[in-house]
């Protein structure tokens, strides 16, 4: 039977959903599911893990995520326990673990995984425009896209916790300083029924007016994809997705958004998704309820007019 490691993830004292998603998936693969939890005084976090066993490493250096300390510790655990499959999140934390593990433990890594089985992993590549199946012989690591598996399947009544001593973590070159919480915004996009969400298809800041008037007409909030925030056309508090907020409005109108996996993660649970995008192959249409390939600069003003 295969031995499956699931690298648990937590942030600011809370276990992240990706942990449960991976635990549930591991269980469905039928292996011996071993959750790996690193922290400081954090043992209780494992109390609802659906796992056969929990390996827990406690050290002040592991209290908060530190790429160097976490890598060293997980490399040493993989070395001593030789799992057949390692599941790690394709998340901000997981990105700093998976690839290093691949080299230091000499195991193949398949990233952006949306499905995993023995010997085969499916990845979402090219901004979600292509699915790629990889064949792999022997032990491997898969870094799993958040939102790929149900969360509930990974929740259970916990498991026997085995405490493992941390490796030597002296002389770390990276020191954790602090976590900084986001500043509150003027609008809470997680609390509105309708979101007009704008992406790079809007082209420039002057055009933002086009979507703003639609939002105003609908009494909706204006949210956006990441590039809009990076361009400083809207504040960070309006960003939907992996590094932004998760939203679940009644209606989500995606305007000029391609639907990269990092965006989809934040909005796929909306009740009704409408996509306006001139590219018929844009992945957003795979998640939308209604779509149109008409130009946003024609549809959005016409729609505003009709409401």
């Amino acid at each position: 039977m295969s031995k499956i490691f699931v690298i648990a993830e937590h942030l600011n004292g809370e276990v992240e959903d990706i942990t449960y998603e991976m635990l549930g998936k591991a269980k469905s693969l039928g292996g011996d599911v071993i959750a790996v939890l690193l922290g400081s005084g954090a043992k209780d976090m494992a109390s609802d893990f659906a796992a056969d066993k929990v390996l827990y490493v406690d050290s002040p250096e592991l209290a908060n995520f530190n790429p160097e300390a976490y890598c060293k510790t997980i490399v040493s655990l993989v070395g001593s326990h030789t799992p057949n499959i390692v599941l790690v999140g394709n998340t901000s934390q997981g990105m700093d673990i998976a690839a290093g593990l691949s080299i230091d433990c000499n195991m193949p890594l398949i990233a952006y995984a949306s499905d995993v089985s023995e010997g085969s992993v499916t990845s979402q590549l090219y901004g979600g425009k292509m699915s790629v199946e990889s064949a792999v012989e022997g032990d491997f690591i898969a870094s799993v896209l958040a939102g790929s598996f149900p969360v509930d399947a990974g929740k259970g009544s916990g498991a026997a916790v085995e405490e493992v001593a941390a490796p030597d973590l002296s002389g770390l070159k990276i020191k954790f300083k602090q976590l900084i919480e986001p500043e509150g915004g003027d609008v809470d996009i997680t609390a509105t029924d309708v979101l007009v969400s704008v992406g790079r298809g809007i082209q420039n800041e002057d055009n933002m007016e086009v979507v703003q008037v639609l939002a105003d007409k609908l009494g909706a909030a204006l949210s956006c994809s990441r590039p809009i925030v990076d361009s400083k056309w809207l504040p960070k508090t309006r960003q939907v997705g992996k590094s932004g907020l998760k939203v679940k409005p009644k209606v989500y109108i995606a305007v000029g958004i391609s639907g990269a996996p990092e965006h989809i993660e934040g909005m796929k649970d909306a009740d009704c998704i409408i996509a306006i995008n001139t590219d018929a192959n844009a992945p957003i249409f795979d998640y939308a309820d209604y779509g149109t390939t008409e130009d946003l600069f024609d549809v959005v003003p016409a729609l505003t007019e009709k409401l």
Binding site: F65, G100, Y126, K250, K306
Partner: protein, 251 residues
């Protein structure tokens, strides 16, 4: 600080992607390539850091179609040195690319290596972290801020929900840049042409890159539209009318 920025060309997703006859890869014959957008952010952050705190910026790329142009563009934007890694070309795994970069960068006295945090073809893992492990130096990914602080750097890493962590790190280190402080600068073609005449493009050998991703592609396919959207037909005016009705029905 001596900052090295590895640059990678990736398929431009604006183009329609087709699968080749093997069923395992993109049809690359007519694909348009562009510099990975996160690499543009990495270069921008490097140039901004140099402008604040001094140092040098070197852009480095593996040999390939149009790569000279990408390197001259980096020079036109302000990179002090541009380097092409030869003896490796085409569609290699990120493990191989990272090894080639590690070999080439060794001996350059890098304090900081900035890569784009990810690209659209990282099937076997993100380049920066692979590179760091081949170089045997630490790494931080998903970086949205870097400031020089004496011999070390203060780095912010982004998590979900807008939460960020602050780290202090000794150099050398590899940072996977998510977003530069400023929108990556634009450089007019005329300036790239001038850079082409005045810049010395150095070449370095990739050396021994006998590593592998350890897995192979068995199938590539367009994701089945999971139920997919109901596509609304008609003129923009018609579509707007239908959308208005749908929206009114939901709220």
């Amino acid at each position: 600080m001596n900052i090295i920025v590895p640059i990678k060309q990736v398929p431009d997703l604006v183009e329609e992607l087709e699968i080749d006859s093997s069923g395992k890869d993109l049809d690359r014959e007519w694909l348009k390539f562009k510099v990975n957008e996160f690499d543009d952010h990495a270069l921008e952050e490097a140039l901004l850091l140099k402008e604040d705190s001094g140092g040098t910026v070197t852009a480095i790329a593996l040999d390939g179609d149009d790569i000279d142009k990408a390197l001259y563009a980096a020079a036109a934007k302000g990179a002090d040195k541009v380097v092409k890694v030869t003896g490796i070309e085409g569609n290699v795994s990120n493990h191989e690319a990272a090894k080639a970069f590690a070999n080439a960068i060794q001996g350059m006295g890098a304090d900081l290596v900035f890569t784009g945090v990810q690209s659209v073809e990282d099937r076997d893992g993100q380049l920066g972290v692979l590179l760091a492990h081949y170089m045997n130096v630490p790494h931080i990914s998903v970086v949205t801020g870097v400031a020089v602080n004496g011999d070390s750097v203060n780095v912010t890493k982004e998590y979900g929900g807008g939460m960020v962590a602050e780290f202090e790190a000794a150099t050398p280190i590899v940072l996977g840049i998510q977003a530069a402080r400023e929108t990556p600068r634009y450089v007019p073609v005329a300036k790239v042409r001038r850079a082409m005449r005045s810049t010395d493009l150095e070449e370095v050998s990739a050396g021994d890159v006998s590593v592998s991703a350890g897995s192979s592609v068995s199938r590539m396919f367009k994701p089945e539209s999971g139920g997919g959207a109901e596509m609304l037909s008609g003129s923009a005016e018609d579509v707007a009318g239908k959308l208005a009705d749908i929206i009114k029905g939901k709220i």
